[in-house]
């Protein structure tokens, strides 16, 4: 009785917060909105990664690769597969279809490479996923005829329309696009919460504790790990596809290795395996990165002249320090640690 009541309360709270997040999409100025959209996109990726690291105990340093794959799949399907036909309009498929196809294709790729990859454990998997990201980047650079490469890049100017409603216009994402992104964050959150509470969620928790024990208890370890790997890749692919239509321009510069590490920072800050934490981590880290870049872009700071590389140095350096401090002193995540601190401050209440 008590349990189901707290669950209902939590669900109501989540729905209310989600509605607020969607409502906020229409209230922000266009400048703030693009940052807000990015927060939502990263939140979708972070939820998937948090499940993968926190529940299946699989550290992926290549989540940015799936994000990039989703973005390029959606972009290339929209502008047309054949580079020579791209100048002719309508060479590709309907953008809305491309957005649906991108996460499915990304998930399929993850399913194929996941089979050999997930046989690796711990350190090996971390390095292998990082290698995966680098291989994809190399392929994007090398096949520049197909992907546009770094120069001229890939312009995805076709506006995204769903059932006649315009989602992105000539100038990029509209408020409607932002609202859809945050709506999807809410959906992802609910799906993830449902998964955590289900039989599959308990099986995954068992795997995170000990693969051997889980296998002994009759859990099909590799099947569960693969499914979660595919789910998290699909979520990253979906976010990437929506990103392609927000920016309307893709270049490998936007998908560096640092992106993958940034996703890990978001999850580490929010708490491994905490679904809400992943959203908060994504929002906080995206905001912080934006602020640090602005700070670094100033000509001088505290009397020192700042070099051209300052925005990059600031954001990378600060994230590095955050990562080190959080893992060293708050291994369960900054957010759960904060919660513990508040609970400790509160007077102890005896429950009957």
């Amino acid at each position: 009785m008590n349990l189901s009541r707290s669950r209902t309360l939590r669900l109501a709270g989540t729905l209310a917060a989600g509605s607020f997040a969607i409502w906020l999409s229409y209230q922000l100025s266009p400048g703030d909105r693009s940052l807000y959209t990015l927060m939502g996109l990263y939140a979708i990726v972070a939820i998937g990664l948090s499940l993968l690291i926190g529940f299946a105990g699989q550290i992926s340093l290549g989540q940015g690769a799936f994000y990039a794959l989703g973005a390029y799949t959606a972009g290339i399907l929209t502008v047309g597969l054949d580079p020579d036909d791209r100048l002719v309009s309508e060479a590709g498929i309907d953008p809305a279809l491309a957005v649906v196809a991108a996460p499915i294709l990304t998930g399929l790729v993850a399913a194929v490479i996941g089979v050999p990859l997930l046989r690796l454990r711990g350190h090996y998997l971390a390095f292998a996923t990082l290698a995966l990201h680098l291989i994809l980047l190399a392929a994007i650079f090398a096949q520049s005829g197909f992907t546009g490469g770094q120069d001229p890049g890939l312009a995805v100017i076709e506006p995204l329309e769903i059932f006649g409603l315009q989602i992105t216009g000539v100038t990029g994402g509209t408020a409607r696009h932002t609202a859809i992104v945050w709506g999807l964050v809410l959906v992802t959150l609910l799906v993830a919460l449902n998964l955590v509470g289900s039989r599959a969620g308990r099986a995954l928790q068992a795997i995170a504790t000990s693969e051997r024990t889980a296998a002994a208890a009759g859990i099909n370890v590799s099947a569960y790990k693969l499914r979660l790997f595919v789910l998290s890749a699909g979520l990253a692919g979906l976010a990437g596809a929506l990103y392609a239509f927000m920016l309307q321009f893709l270049s490998p510069d936007a998908f560096g290795v640092f992106l993958s590490i940034q996703f890990v920072v978001m999850v580490a800050v929010g708490g491994l395996g905490s679904v809400y934490g992943a959203v908060v981590g994504a929002v906080a880290i995206t905001w912080l990165e934006h602020e640090l870049r602005e700070l670094g872009a100033r000509p001088s700071l505290l009397g020192f002249d700042l070099p051209d590389q300052a925005p990059q140095v600031f954001s990378v350096g600060v994230f590095a320090v955050i990562l080190i401090v959080v893992i060293l002193f708050f291994p369960r995540g900054l957010l759960p640690a904060l919660g513990d601190g508040i609970r400790r401050l509160r007077p102890v209440r005896h429950e009957n």
Partner: protein
């Protein structure tokens, strides 16, 4: 045949430098259980310090100074990476060293900019051995690497500090029981490994320019070399580095010949290296299952 030998010569020298990074990773992993991602950053730091110093002082002194400074930085990294109050798991330590690598990368970008750096080799011409062009610098890298690996093995067997490291590698708990301070061991292991990595790139930089963000590539290749021996054997890590270096050169060298691929093959150099590494560690993981 000449072309094959030429590629092997280049491969052995870059492979030797990867081997040094891999040996460092093995040393740290065996003694502390940590896979050190910052190993690549130590190599980059070694190369960059050398470039900065070599104009002002004698090359030998500059190289020695670069190696010692990086070894000192390595000892600091080791002190932090072990974690505090036994709460830090080995995988958490990997993430910590990843953070440290990022920090070093950003500081390198600030200090050295985003251009590749190199310095002129002291040898004025290459040797021509039966039509195969051999840069003396390649021989220097390969020779010094072999010497360093041998000295390390000897040091582990013959010195007290080396014995402590070996004891820690055998059983950390038992080592603690006989009074060996695990943190002190980590500091020593990190310092030695950092020095080795730096040494590799102090020597390799004239033939392979180093950039502030070369660390990821070096760390991944070093890990692959170490993974060749299951992160457990210094000898196999050395072999792994050489195999990796030669295999990469051969793939890149001969991919040019495949019609239709031509010019694009060069751009796949890193990708080829990574695929080789994935196959290597996949093969290794399979062996572990059977053991």
């Amino acid at each position: 045949m000449k072309e094959f030998l030429q590629l092997v010569v280049v491969g052995v020298s870059t492979g030797s430098a990867y081997a040094l990074v891999g040996i460092g990773m093995v040393l740290i992993f065996r003694t502390t259980g940590i896979v050190n991602f910052a190993q690549g950053s130590f190599a980059v730091l070694g190369g960059l310090f050398m470039v900065a110093l070599v104009d002002d002082i004698h090359g030998l002194v500059a190289g020695l100074a670069a190696v010692l400074v990086v070894a000192f930085i390595g000892s600091l990294v080791g002190f932090v990476a072990v974690g505090f109050r036994h709460r830090t798991t080995p995988l958490a330590s990997l993430i910590i060293t990843l953070g440290i690598a990022l920090l070093i990368t950003s500081l390198n970008l600030l200090a050295f900019g985003d251009r590749p750096h190199t310095y002129p080799t002291i040898f004025d011409r290459a040797w021509d051995i039966g039509g195969v062009l051999v840069q003396p610098q390649y021989v220097l890298v390969a020779g010094v690497t072999l010497l360093a690996a041998l000295l390390l093995t000897l040091g582990l067997q013959r010195t007290i500090a080396g014995q402590a490291l070996v004891a820690c590698a055998d059983s950390r708990r038992a080592a603690e029981l006989v009074g060996i301070d695990v943190r002190a061991v980590a500091v020593v292991a990190f310092a030695v490994s950092a020095g080795l990595s730096a040494l590799g790139w102090v020597l390799l930089t004239p033939v392979d320019p180093v950039n502030y963000d070369s660390d990821v590539r070096i760390a991944i290749n070093g890990f692959a070399a170490a993974a060749f021996g299951g992160l457990a054997s210094i000898r196999l890590a050395y072999v792994g580095g050489l195999v990796l270096g030669v295999a990469q050169q051969l793939v890149v060298g001969y991919a040019d010949k495949i019609p239709g691929l031509g010019q694009q093959a060069r751009q796949y150099e890193l990708a080829a290296a990574l695929v080789i590494m994935l196959v290597l560690i996949g093969w290794r993981a399979r062996n572990e299952v059977h053991e």
